[in-house]
């Protein structure tokens, strides 16, 4: 249905895509994968009319196409769910779903029709959200759902999903799978860009691997296994995905003591401690309060009551939970949305990382940038860039993520709070980030993280606190915990056969 012929795209002197050629059939789900910055989004953006190609051509049913703007692409029957959310906060769900192709009646926008169709589109994803809600009032996961609903509600032949599941939880991913199957059955072509290997194997018929802008392989997923796919992507076999946990029980001194922290008036209180040298995970279903806890600790969201103290040596200092204070006290926070809350996209890598080193200086002091530290950090983290002066906005998602974590690693903090540390990051980079975090912990740092990818929590954390309805319902040993057990605790607050000794 679609075929790429020697497609090339440059950004400045950088080749984001060079001579990419492959074909895709109607009635199939075609996975697109590869490392961060491999060019997946760029290729899809060409199809979506966001960029235009510098060379080669794209053919739709044999005829060359060159959409110059998203509207052109929509007219050609291509519907795109972009990697970045494109919902408008001041429009309702219904309005967002039909923006750009509003149903009209007697010269006016037909709101009734819009609502009906919007409800139907959401229903296909098993969602019952009120279609008159403004999208700005939705959680990220709901926004992602609406985004998908928007993409599939169009009458298109080709659907592009660019990392649609980055913010979704298991049950929603399940629904998405059903949806993909129904699209496939209706004879549509679906592009599915993802770093989640199991989704690729479960949902997709074909997989194309890109590397550094070049086409590596297009193959049926059937005859492929995980390791093969990973080595196609990374160019080598990852011997160890998650770093080794330190042997023995985590017994470092306490780094952060959380005492009866209360997020909402009248809500439950949580207490726990974070030790030096450990990686502690908060696990639970979406919206159960993990995010509020970690945000409150980072000073980003006010807490109603409770005390948090930071221990240094034998001294304990009670913290005033504002961002400026927590950073001064040596606590760094890595947000889940790196573009909005994390990075300075128009500034260079050096500046993005260097700014973290200034955290203890007064604003009147002279600033020093430790270029040597930054250079070695970049080398260690394998940040792919043309130079340290490249603007962060030009990096691929995974590399941006590394820069954001790198800022804190270079700043000399000793407690790191992470939200979704590897969102949208490729397997290779993931392994690298895990290693960095473990290294940070081994050198006396303490890590507290939340992640919607349960396997990541299980694989990386030394201890896991399961959160349900704003409360910590269980504490588990990371190496001993199983996916089943955590899920059950997260859903019911109760372990299956065990006594509630942990709660």
């Amino acid at each position: 249905m679609i075929s790429f012929h020697n497609v090339t795209k440059r950004f400045g002197s950088n080749f984001a895509l060079s001579d990419v050629s492959f074909d895709c059939k109607a009635g199939s789900v075609h996975a697109l994968t590869g490392e961060n910055g491999a060019g997946k989004s760029t290729l899809m953006n060409l199809l979506a009319g966001v960029f235009s190609a510098d060379g080669g051509e794209i053919r739709l049913r044999g005829a060359p196409i060159a959409p110059e703007r998203p509207a052109d692409s929509q007219r050609l029957g291509i519907s795109t769910i972009f990697q970045e959310l494109t919902l408008l906060g001041n429009l309702t769900i219904a309005e967002n779903l039909f923006l750009g192709r509003e149903p009209m009646r007697r010269g006016m926008v037909d709101r009734a029709e819009m609502r009906t169709c919007a409800r139907a589109a959401l229903a296909r994803l098993g969602s019952t959200l009120d279609v008159d809600t403004f999208c700005g009032d939705l959680s990220v996961a709901d926004q992602q759902l609406v985004e998908i609903a928007k993409g599939v509600s169009t009458d298109a032949d080709i659907f592009i999903f660019d990392e649609p599941t980055a913010a979704l939880n298991a049950p929603e991913v399940e629904k998405l799978g059903e949806l993909l199957a129904s699209l496939k059955a209706a004879g549509k072509l679906v592009f599915y860009v993802s770093h989640r290997l199991e989704e690729i194997f479960r949902f997709c018929d074909q997989v194309t691997v890109l590397k550094d802008g070049a086409h590596v392989e297009t193959r049926p997923t059937a005859g492929l296994d995980r390791d093969q796919l990973v080595s196609l992507m990374v160019g080598r076999v990852l011997s160890q995905f998650y770093p080794e946990r330190p042997s023995g029980p985590p017994g470092g001194p306490v780094a952060l003591e959380v005492d009866r922290l209360q997020i909402e008036a009248g809500g439950p209180q949580v207490s726990f401690s974070l030790r030096q040298g450990e990686i502690l995970g908060l696990a639970g279903l979406e919206g159960q309060g993990q995010r509020s806890i970690i945000r409150a600790l980072g000073g980003l969201q006010p807490a109603v009551a409770g005390a948090v103290s930071k221990h240094e040596g034998s001294q304990a200092r009670k913290l005033d939970l504002s961002v400026v204070q927590t950073v001064l006290a040596g606590i760094g926070f890595v947000p889940e949305d790196r573009k909005i809350e994390g990075l300075y996209l128009p500034l260079s890598i050096t500046e993005n990382i260097g700014i973290g080193m200034l955290r203890r200086s007064s604003i009147w002091q002279m600033a020093r940038t430790r270029r040597d530290v930054i250079a070695s950090l970049m080398a260690r983290m394998e940040i792919r860039s043309t130079s340290a002066r490249q603007l962060v906005g030009q990096l691929s998602g995974g590399n941006q993520q590394k820069v954001m974590i790198g800022r804190w690693l270079a700043s000399g903090i000793d407690v790191l709070l992470l939200e979704e540390p590897t969102r949208g990051v490729d397997v290779g980079a993931k392994a690298e980030i895990y290693a960095l975090l473990r290294d940070f912990a081994d050198n006396g740092g303490a890590v507290l993280m939340i992640s919607s990818e349960l396997l990541e929590v299980l694989g990386l954390c030394d201890r896991i606190l399961v959160v349900r309805q704003n409360q910590i319902v269980a504490e588990l040993e990371g190496s001993a915990a199983s996916e089943d057990e955590v899920m059950r605790l997260a859903l019911t607050g109760r372990a299956a056969n065990l006594a509630e000794s942990h709660a």
Partner: protein, 325 residues
């Protein structure tokens, strides 16, 4: 491990190319200044005498000072339209005759007034998240309204002798006002380039939300920026009042908008978090020179306004095109 940011592998050719592209990306004010100078050479060569150029530079000093403050605001994605109001306030404090103090004390009061206005602006902008355009517009309305109302009670008096001297004196052929401008400009430029404050300004300009999340003292930095902007306006007002010699309620009326033009023509853009102090300075000179050139061409007011509009519009558009390519 080699540090490739400082590694010696860059060739001369690369350096030349880098230098070339650096010149190409200079703010348009530089090119526009050059064009205007060439135009003057052919049309009004007398304007190019050192005497007159220095004088034009002195005329540009109030705008130049105001533009520094404005550029700081714009670099943190804010804007300061209260510059005009501050100058009216300063004029009233110094010449209104309502406060029974000596001139130096009055000048200190004017400075304190500037700080207060900056703090007020900053409070609304950072704490209440109000639009800076509207806040500073409202503050201007309040200050001018109150000053004009009070000034109806009593006619404005003479400007402090000290300020009159400053705006008149010359060292050799160099006006003191120009030296004062430079004396403010250079340390500020160095400070912004070297200090933590300057880095934070860049970061906030690039992404205010990220700056907050990563613990940059956002409120403090923006507050300092607005206080500085108001202080620059106070100093700009000092020069203007000294220059005029007597209080007036229409001093500095177009300074707020002109400083905005100077800042943008000088290469400071919203949202890039980047921008120097030199660009706006050159742009302030450019605007003042263009004003003088148009005057000396003997054009009527309408033609002058039209050309002035064209210069600002074309310069701003040309600079954007050049930056894009």
């Amino acid at each position: 491990m080699t540090d490739f940011a400082t590694s010696p592998s860059t060739t001369t050719g690369q350096r030349l190319r880098a230098a070339g592209s650096a010149v190409a990306s200079l703010p348009f004010a530089y090119a526009a200044t050059l064009i205007l100078l060439i135009a003057a050479y052919f049309m009004r060569p007398a304007l190019l005498s050192p005497m007159l150029l220095l004088l034009i530079a002195r005329q540009a000093a109030p705008l130049g000072l105001a533009a520094i403050g404005q550029s700081l605001c714009m670099r943190v994605l804010s804007i300061d339209l209260s510059i005009g109001g501050v100058i009216v306030g300063v004029s009233y404090i110094l010449t209104g005759g309502l406060l029974p103090f000596s001139d130096p004390v009055l000048m200190l009061i004017a400075i304190a007034f500037g700080v207060a206005v900056g703090l007020l602006n900053a409070f609304f902008i950072t704490r209440l998240r109000a639009s800076s355009v509207i806040v500073t517009l409202a503050v201007t309305l309040i200050i001018t309204g109150v000053a004009v109302a009070f000034s109806q009670l009593r006619s404005p008096g003479d400007a402090p002798e000290m300020l009159r001297q400053v705006s008149r004196l010359k060292i050799g052929i160099v006006p003191v006002a120009l030296l004062i401008w430079l004396a403010v400009l250079i340390p500020i430029a160095v400070f912004l380039r070297m200090s933590v404050f300057g880095r934070y300004i860049d970061a906030i300009g690039a992404n205010p939300r990220a700056a907050w999340v990563s613990g940059i003292p956002y409120v403090r930095v923006v507050t300092v920026v607005h206080v500085m902007s108001s202080l620059f306006a106070v100093f700009s007002g000092f020069l203007l009042i000294g220059f005029v010699g007597v209080g007036s309620m229409d001093l500095g009326r177009d300074l707020a908008l002109n400083s905005l033009a100077a800042v943008i023509l000088g290469g400071v853009t919203f949202g890039s978090g980047k921008g120097g102090v030199l660009g706006p300075t050159v742009a302030a000179l450019m605007l003042t020179f263009s004003f003088n050139l148009l005057t000396s061409l003997g054009l009527g007011e309408p033609a002058k306004l039209m050309l002035q509009g064209l210069i600002i519009g074309v310069a701003a558009a040309a600079y954007s095109i050049q930056r894009k390519t």
